[in-house]
């Protein structure tokens, strides 16, 4: 589209200096050289200032600080960490926390968003109105306000002694969410491996069935075999390990709980805030996707006696996903970026720890550069995956 620019005259041989000066191509080059020079000069000037300022304030430069001892504790860590570890490791802890809370938030936001999005196009007027009201409210209240609100709610929950019981499965208290958890067992790792294997095998089998269908025209239903593979393999592994079924129930003990697993108040508040906020946007994306399939197509599919399952699989979903997935991905990326408001309520995510590192070392430029690079990489990787997916589902024209 760039050639749509105006004023590009056709090539005309230059006769004299005036012609050259006024020629389009010459001016184009001049503008660009000037712009590039201006950007380079500005960059150089700023760089000079930074160096001068840093040396005047005796602040070190470079990323050497990543190997220094951090000397601060972190409340929640998923990998081993102590205050004797390095800044680099502290930032890694933060990154893992960011990814964890984002992953949990994405799951919750997707479940709520899809439910509300489907309710938005419901034929039930009441349900549809409620869904609309929900979307308008959660989308239009700043996400920070929502996170701060949930943090305040959890802080004001009763202490563990008077904790709210959740149907015998756990407790909600000002210590966060405590819930039942199977006691860790070696079998769990193998069950996870079996699950992955099952999914891979099911995908391969479906692919073979498709090839078979295309070659012979005979349809092999792979639904139940796939379910058997994906659910059955982990179950088999569980049985092989002697069906370990020890479950740890949380119990009130003193001022806290014993047993079970606990999610911290900060994690719950952050996850609730960012996922509810995103769920409103996801609901709208889903609604648009559902409405992307004209009713006539579903009716046509029904009239050729396609089973409902196949109508969904081969008529509705391919068109809906093409509309849903690209904006959904960018919604996920913005959820990951929103998780950085953890710093407001004290959840140790990447930005929160980066902020501490920045304050301790004084190396603001490098610390912020690390944060930005991490988020940029997440964004770039997502959009690369997105483009690959788009190529996969794009309408294939012959």
């Amino acid at each position: 589209m760039t050639d749509a620019s105006p004023g590009r005259s056709g090539a005309r041989p230059a006769r004299n200096l005036k012609d050259i000066l006024y020629s389009e191509s010459f001016r184009t080059v001049i503008y660009q050289v000037a712009l590039a020079a201006a950007v380079a000069l500005l960059g150089f000037y700023l760089y000079q200032n930074v160096i001068a300022n840093l040396s005047r304030q005796n602040i070190a430069t470079g990323f050497g600080f990543l190997d220094q001892v951090a000397q601060f504790e972190i409340g929640e860590t998923l990998i081993a960490y102590s205050s004797r570890d390095t800044y680099g490791r502290a930032l890694l802890v933060g990154l893992i926390n960011t990814l964890t809370v984002s992953a949990a938030g994405i799951v919750v936001a997707t479940v709520i968003g899809f439910s509300v999005g489907i309710a938005r196009v419901s034929t039930n007027w009441l349900l549809q109105r409620i869904a609309t009201a929900y979307v308008e409210i959660v989308r239009n209240i700043p996400v920070i306000l929502q996170v701060i609100f949930w943090a305040a709610v959890i802080r004001n929950l009763p202490a563990p002694r008077q904790a709210i019981e959740l149907w015998g499965l756990g407790f909600l208290s000002n210590r966060g969410l405590t819930f039942v958890m199977p006691v860790a067992h070696a079998a769990h790792v193998w069950m996870l491996a079996a699950l992955v294997t099952g999914i891979v095998l099911a995908a391969a089998a479906s692919h073979l069935a498709k090839r078979h269908r295309e070659a012979t025209g005979r349809y092999v239903d792979m639904l139940w075999p796939s379910i058997a593979l994906i659910a059955g393999l982990p179950l088999l592994v569980w049985l092989v390990f002697g069906a370990p079924h020890a479950i740890s129930y949380p119990q009130r003990q003193g001022f806290n709980f014993a047993g079970g697993a606990t999610i911290s108040p900060e994690f719950v508040a952050l996850m609730a805030g960012i996922s509810l906020y995103s769920s409103g946007f996801i609901a709208e994306i889903v609604r648009a996707g559902i409405q992307a399939t004209p009713r006539g197509q579903v009716e046509a599919a029904r009239s050729i006696a396609l089973r409902p399952r196949f109508i969904l699989r081969y008529v509705v979903l391919p068109q809906a996903l093409r509309v849903i997935v690209p904006p959904l991905t960018s919604q996920y990326v913005s959820l990951i970026k929103n998780s950085s408001i953890a710093v407001v309520i004290g959840y140790p995510d990447l930005v929160n720890i980066g902020n501490t590192v920045m304050n301790q070392t004084g190396q603001a430029v490098e610390a912020i550069a690390v944060m930005m690079m991490v988020y940029l990489i997440i964004s770039v990787v997502t959009s690369l995956l997105m483009n690959a997916y788009n190529r996969l589902v794009a309408i294939k024209e012959r």
């Binding site: 760039t2 620019s5 105006p6 306000l145 609100f149 004001n156």
Partner: protein
């Protein structure tokens, strides 16, 4: 949006699209179509009634609307709206000196009147708007800063509350929109260098959270300046949010630019208009009209994004409320306080989207 969904939800009228649907037919189609449909309606309605009853019970019947004694609120089982009455001044005006709050009220009145007038097509002529904005800027500046006409000087570090939110939002849009247009044009420019600079700028800022940009504005930007030179923190932060806003807006405007048919460029070229003449008089007016719905979305998002300044300690309405809620006497009634702040954001967001819908109507009818 609503019109589309209601079209899907309600069965299309069969013969006469203007015929009125009778009440029973409507009920049958939308609430009691089948047994399952009816069951769902009953369950949802029951839940809804319970919810509204709770809201009524908590928010009105048992609520305390006015008291200066927090113990009265503690004794009540309902909401304590009195906390808003009691604390509305620190919530709305933040750290601004208590005795000078009238200046902020006056400022908000001038601000809102100016904005409302400027949004009305009837008043869209420069002979009115330029003096109006000069007057508004000068008077708001005088009221906020003071130091003239016998008003006490108030530093920007003491500004706060709703006026600060308004100023941040206005600054973001006024600085951000021109930058957005330039970035969008740059990204579609015939010059590869301009394109490259714009793409790198837009994509890298869109890839990072707003917080990191605020950190840059607060912690890194001062390092860029030569020794001894300083830029006001509030200004740095406003520009930071504005540039972030501009990068998103630029992509929206680019969408509008791409929708302009080639013929428009070629027609302009055949009239031998220059690049800037073409852009200003032919391309941009159309592109901005096309992308208006998305532009409004980002403007509303910009209003919500001003709340991010809590991270770097500016006292906007949210920060001020959070600080007020540290008061041990009233801390228990945080729900009411945050509901109030949410209502303020919802109100302005709703007003903006109503206006945007009106503008779309004006565009459709060819008025603007």
């Amino acid at each position: 949006m609503t019109t589309i969904s209601s079209q899907i939800a309600t069965p299309a009228p069969t013969y006469d699209p203007h015929a009125r649907i009778s009440g029973t037919v409507w009920l049958k189609a939308n609430l009691f179509g089948s047994i399952w449909q009816s069951l769902l309606t009953v369950i949802v309605a029951a839940g809804l009634i319970r919810f509204f009853w709770f809201v009524l019970d908590w928010g009105v019947i048992n609520a305390v609307f006015y008291t200066t004694d927090p113990d009265v609120c503690r004794a009540a089982t309902g909401a304590c709206w009195a906390v808003i009455v009691e604390k509305h001044r620190p919530m709305l005006f933040g750290l601004y000196p208590y005795d000078e709050h009238w200046r902020l009220v006056l400022m908000m009145v001038i601000y809102l009147v100016t904005v409302v007038i400027s949004l009305w097509p009837r008043f869209w002529n420069l002979r009115l708007l330029v003096p109006l904005w000069i007057f508004a800027t000068l008077s708001i500046g005088a009221l906020m800063f003071g130091g003239v006409l016998g008003l006490r000087y108030v530093a920007t570090s003491e500004w706060g509350g709703l006026p600060l939110t308004m100023l941040l939002f206005t600054g973001t849009v006024l600085i951000g929109m021109p930058v957005a247009v330039l970035l969008a044009l740059g990204r579609r420019a015939p010059l590869p260098v301009a394109r490259g600079v714009s793409v790198v700028f837009i994509e890298s800022l869109r890839g990072v959270p707003l917080i990191t940009i605020l950190f840059v504005a607060v912690n890194v930007f001062p390092l860029f300046l030569p020794a001894g030179m300083e830029v006001n923190k509030l200004l740095r932060i406003t520009v930071g949010i504005a540039i972030f806003f501009a990068c998103y807006q630029a992509e929206v405007i680019r969408g509008g630019l791409q929708a302009i048919p080639r013929g428009q460029y070629e027609a302009a070229q055949s009239l031998s208009l220059s690049y800037w003449q073409t852009t200003r008089t032919i391309i941009l007016p159309q592109a901005l009209r096309i992308s208006l719905p998305a532009i409004t979305n980002h403007i509303i998002a910009a209003m919500k994004n001003t709340s991010f300044v809590i991270i770097i300690g500016l006292f906007d309405i949210l920060t001020a409320t959070t600080a007020v809620m540290q008061d041990p006497l009233w801390r228990k009634f945080y729900v009411e306080a945050y509901l109030f702040v949410a209502a303020v954001y919802l109100f302005f967001g709703y007003a903006l989207s109503l206006y945007a819908r009106q503008v779309e109507k004006w565009i459709a009818s060819g008025r603007i």
